[in-house]
Subunit: 308 residues, 2 copies
């Protein structure tokens, strides 16, 4: 039994935190943090505590904070910051349900969790389940995670279980090849969060739409090709809060130019709420309820191109 983790080298820290080596070195030069010890070869050896702090910083940056302002705070202060961010939202959640579910999550009772979710789908119906249960639950879980009340693996478990529940419910609907409109769902490269796609699908399928998901991280030009190949009426893109606003706007703009005008483009997800100006030819979906609105609006105004 040896000392298990004396320190992380820079490659390991990159893996653990998602911060590139270049960036870690640059912060050391600029801010003096992190300032790792060196091994005999002169290579950086990061302490586990520094890695934790880096993770906390990364989280805060993902919601828009800037490194220069927060690198010198202690881990405690960083957590307090995360707290302050979410304190307003805590009232939103259906208290008994959220509590109940958080408890199951903390007891690591996957089976009971899944059963509860399945039961809720049955009772509420798929759409209501998404809008009234999953959405506030996501917020609750996200906040708890930010505050460190939830382990990373517990958050992973939650996401996985919700996905299972949603997929099961979606599959229960007969998938007609003639559904209208034809919706293609995916995310940009570097956007790994695919739960949003599934949530949208869960809202649209009961409305009779024909959804095809490509999963996450499709290169832009492939999105173009896919939209054309599938004769999509609507292209639905999802962006998490961590996605760089600029890249998203640029990419969506580019796509708009590449696709024929009769293909409607939806941009949704957390990031969408940070968008100020409207983007020509793009429908913003700042929350899930808007997706149903947008679908109905599409039906009212558009005739599917490929039909008839």
């Amino acid at each position: 039994m040896q000392a298990p983790a004396p320190g992380f080298n820079i490659g390991a820290v990159e893996r653990e935190t998602g911060l590139s080596k270049d960036l870690l070195r640059m912060w050391e030069r600029r801010y003096g943090f992190p300032s790792p010890a060196r091994d005999r070869a002169g290579e950086r050896q990061y302490a586990p505590d520094d890695v934790s702090k880096l993770r906390a910083i990364k989280r805060l940056m993902d919601i828009g904070m800037r490194p220069g302002k927060i690198v010198h705070q202690t881990l405690g202060e960083l957590n307090a910051l995360a707290d302050a961010r979410s304190v307003v939202r805590r009232d939103d959640l259906a208290p008994p349900l959220g509590r109940n579910l958080l408890d199951l999550l903390k007891n690591h009772d996957a089976a009971a969790l899944q059963q509860l979710l399945a039961q809720l789908v049955m009772r509420q119906g798929l759409q209501q389940f998404v809008l009234e249960t999953v959405t506030p639950l996501n917020r609750t879980v996200g906040d708890a995670w930010m505050r460190g009340e939830l382990q990373v693996f517990e958050e992973h478990l939650y996401t996985e279980q919700v996905q299972v529940a949603l997929r099961t419910a979606i599959n229960a609907f007969p998938r007609t090849a003639t559904g209208v409109p034809r919706v293609l769902l995916t995310t940009f490269p570097n956007e790994q969060h695919g739960l949003g796609l599934l949530l949208v699908e869960a809202l649209l399928v009961p409305e009779g739409a024909h959804c095809v998901s490509l999963g996450t991280q499709t290169p832009i030009d492939d999105i173009r090709r896919a939209a054309i190949a599938h004769r999509a009426d609507i292209l639905a893109l999802s962006f998490s809060g961590a996605f760089p606003l600029r890249s998203a706007v640029d990419g969506v703009d580019l796509l708009r130019g590449l696709l024929p005008p009769q293909v409607t483009i939806w941009a949704g997800g957390e990031m969408t709420r940070r968008v100020r100006r409207t983007i020509p030819g793009i429908v913003l979906i700042p929350d899930l309820a808007s997706a149903i609105q947008a679908l109905r609006s599409w039906r009212a105004h558009r005739v599917p191109v490929h039909a008839g």
Copy 2:
């Protein structure tokens, strides 16, 4: 309508190929390939063809070839090499099926594809479906993608459809809370390919195991915590061929030290085949059939810790 992709910068190539920036620069210095053009700022601009060739090289390296021997071959020669390697295996796949499915994929007929997969699950049963259909299919699709016969989005579509088929089938099994052994499935950070986890789950659930998946990219220390929290008997980790061998071995070794000895650790996936030496306390699962073997072996030799 402008030229869409004049070139990739080094960061984009890193993402596309999985070869680090450092490595790309080093190859340029050592081998003279790739030797990208420079933009006005003096930054590397890689041609799409170079990126394709880099992908081919990476793929060959993933099966054990060394860069010095192959960098100077043409893309055609590299493909021939890959061919020679897989020629034995190409016979494995049921030809009419693979052809049929590839055709559906190229016609972008998602509905028919899903129907075909669902039908196959029914006919073959879940385990046989995984071993005899999905595994060779994965190879076929992977090869076709390597040779540029398949668009990225078509590959995405395939993956997505297989996932749907598998999840549906897995959910059809009653999930007992008392299943034994308790298996926890996940991947390391930076490992985005989660299909392997689903495949393993699809093999184990019919055997009566209790599977809990955390999805992809769980930090190592959270894997430790999750394994303990879930009282896992087996921790199953999946690594794609692209995953850096070194990181994997180090991480797995670290985990072995962090977890009590009664937790069995499985390491599976493409990468596993490149491992030469045995890693103490780790069970290697070089192919999917081995997973069932390993499960039976576990049952023969181990008594679940948490039971009784």
